[in-house]
Amino acid sequence: MRIEFTPRQRTLQKELRAYFEQLMTPELRYELSQGTREGGGPEFRKALRQIGADGWISLGWPEALGGQGATPMEQYIFTEEVMRTGFPYPFLTTDAIGPVLAEHGDEEIKRTVLDGILRGEIVIAIGYTEPSAGTDLASLTTRADRDGDDWVINGQKTFTSLADFSDYVWLAARTDPKSKKHRGLSMFLVPSDAEGYSISPIWTLGVRTNATFYDDVRVPAKNLIGGEGNGWGLITGQLNRERLSLVNHGSADMLYREVASWAGATLLPDGSRVIDAHWVQHNLARARVGLEALRLLCWKQAWQMTEGTLQMADASVAKVYGTEFFIELYRLLLEILGQAGTLKQDSPGAILQGKLEFRYRVGSILTFGGGTNEVQRDIVAAAGLGMPRGR
């Protein structure tokens, strides 16, 4: 056992930290603070193109697909450094969809969409969830029918995040109407300027997301990616990696540090500092203890992915622990800020730009998003403990 970064990994971390520090210009920070935290604004686009031009986007892709072949451990370090800065890096585009296009796309898809991703010019939204197909995703009913050289898509997706500024939707649709469940699903790239495609906003507790509608949307056959009927494998193949980026330690650690520094600097009327109170120290210590386990679970999982030994239960353990810890962490930290912690950014008296007021509102997405935690616990009980499944 040797539970620390290798010198090479430390060098990468240092390089990335400096890189993203300079990338986050005041203009970009300002834009991201103005209701566009998810990205999509001109400064976001500019920064993403810069990241592409500097060659970072293909870091973790296999060399055979034109990537740099970084290990999952190195890819994790990259993710952590990005998340520390708060830059809304489109991980699903770059690391879930990109490599799939590199492997399965035809020459034209590679020349246009894939190159666009690598240059940081293209963002893709995920179109999986439907009003009646959430956790039971395989029951989705959006359909694609073959018509000559085209596919014609009809249906509705919900919670299509980023669709308000993305260039494509990575859409799961049923291509075999007689099929049931996970058989007969295929993946499509739907351009956001396609006729018959429309979106309407969904304002959630936290961020904006979208409903997307597909009314006789016509896409050419090459936009079906990875072969007819192979959609389910493409969806599930990326889930472990997605779960790991959901519970990344980087941004949570930054929040803890910001609140601790605030408490260490802020004076109370009696001349003491906020951090002098025992209960504040207790909350910070609780946060620290929980963060340490999260960091180590993430490291271990990235190491297991590198070694090819990741077990199904391990990914679910990190998902359950990390997402539920976040909820607890926001509470521990908000208590320290007190009632002023409830003030939104730009309000007079807001603390730390209202970051925690925002974070607690978005935090609840993660316990059910990316595979709801009850299903993860079922996986842990069955795969980790060998218990029989119900029903």
Binding site: M1, R2, I3, E4, F5, T6, Q9, M73, R257, A260, S261, A263, G264, A265, R273, I275, D276, H278, V280, Q281, H282, L284, A285, R286, R288, V289, E292, A293, L296, L297, W299, K300, A302, W303, Q304, E307, A313, D314, V317, V320, Y321, E374, Q376, R377, D378, V380, A381, A382, G384, L385, G386, M387, P388, R389, G390, R391
Partner: protein, 376 residues
């Protein structure tokens, strides 16, 4: 980054499991627990014969010199089998400390006997009303070339069978670390009944003599020696707690997968499966924080924060897992004919040994203040 065990360590783990599996069945444990001391001397000898007691001891003193990390693997197995042997008190705070800080003569005097299983040693970690190992109230006064001790220690495991009790006492110029022979005049041992059944003693010291060659560290180095001992002992207890939590979780999964009510295995009720899954998640968290502390200590790196964090997790996890395991078992979980009760007893024992979660959180909070507080 490497979380893997070496082939040698895997072999060692296998060997330990085999010996312990054979000798810690419910019947055998029940027999041992009828005796005055919860101590299986035959098992101790077998562990010694297999070389396992010498994992952390240098080859020159009859050990295998495989390091702290390997020793913790054995300790985890002891936790998982709730074996009635004083593995942590003898091997970690005492033998490792003598090896690291003792004179060549002291090492020669005690370590070969530890590795061969003939010599038991122990450490007095606390005093009544004082759990600060590094700040004892027991006093050591100079008499001739040696010392005499006055004061008391409490909850000292196996003090009656130990050749020496490592303890700290206040002396001229600071604190000293001594190796007390508990069988000399001036030492009174009062047997205590501790929750997990481990033989423990209150040690009353009234002008108890310490021979000149039984000083381990004087005031110039005692603070760092005691810190070194404390950290390794805490992490050893975390490894033991990990074994306890992991085994209690497995037993629960197995029992609920067999037990039927309403015509089905109760594990198929999601309320049952999900709570067992929480035990698994908790245990994985305890595993990684314990591994990190072990890895740092093994490399002789600063680990004070990692050690505190690991022990906080250990205290929280054994508490939660123990009660979830009992609850999911129902009545049989608390029946002393069924082996789960021992895990619940050891869970509480380990939770409160060397710092409860709340106390350690308070200490960690002070470290955080030192890191983040602006100066006035």
């Amino acid at each position: 980054m490497d979380f893997s065990l070496s082939d040698e360590q895997l072999e060692l783990q296998k060997l330990a499991r085999q010996i312990l599996l054979d000798q810690t069945g419910n019947e055998r444990l029940r027999e041992i627990e009828k005796e005055e001391d919860r101590f299986d001397e035959k098992l101790w000898r077998d562990l010694a014969e297999a070389g396992l007691l010498g994992i952390g001891i240098a080859e020159a003193h009859g050990g295998m010199d495989l390091g702290f990390e390997s020793l913790c693997l054995l300790i985890e197995e002891i936790g998982a089998s709730v074996a009635p042997v004083p593995i942590v008190p003898v091997l970690v705070p005492t033998a490792l400390a003598i090896q690291r800080f003792g004179s060549e003569e002291q090492a020669r005097r005690f370590l070969p006997g530890v590795a061969s299983g003939e010599t038991l040693l122990t450490t007095a970690l606390i005093e009544s009303g004082n759990e600060e190992f590094r700040m004892p109230t027991t006093k050591a006064g100079r008499v001739g070339a040696g010392w005499i001790l006055n004061g008391s220690k409490t909850c000292v495991p196996f003090a009656h069978r130990a050749e020496r009790v490592l303890l700290a006492a206040e002396m001229d110029g600071g604190v000293g670390v001594f190796l007390l022979d508990p069988h000399v005049a001036g030492v009174e041992l009062r047997r205590q009944q501790a929750t997990a059944g481990e033989p423990q003693f209150e040690v009353i010291l009234t002008d108890a003599e310490i021979a000149p060659d039984d000083l381990l560290a004087g005031p110039e180095s005692a603070a760092s020696v005691l810190g070194w001992i404390e950290q390794r002992s805490m992490v050893a207890h975390c490894a033991q707690a990990l074994g306890v939590a992991e085994c209690a979780t497995r037993m629960t999964a197995q029992y609920t997968s067999e037990r039927e009510q309403f015509g089905v295995k109760i594990a198929t009720f999601q309320a049952v499966a999900q709570r067992a899954a929480d035990c698994y998640v908790d245990t994985q968290c305890l595993r990684v924080v314990t591994q990190q502390a072990i890895s740092l200590l093994d490399a002789e790196r600063d680990a004070s924060e990692a050690v505190a964090i690991a022990k906080i997790w250990a205290g929280d996890v054994v508490h939660r897992v123990s009660h979830a395991a009992q609850h999911l078992h129902g009545g049989i979980g608390v029946d002393r004919d069924y082996p789960l009760f021992r895990y619940c007893l050891w869970a509480k024992q380990l939770e409160l040994t060397q710092g409860s979660s709340s106390r350690l959180l308070s200490g960690l909070g002070e470290r955080i203040v030192a890191e983040f507080r602006a100066s006035d």
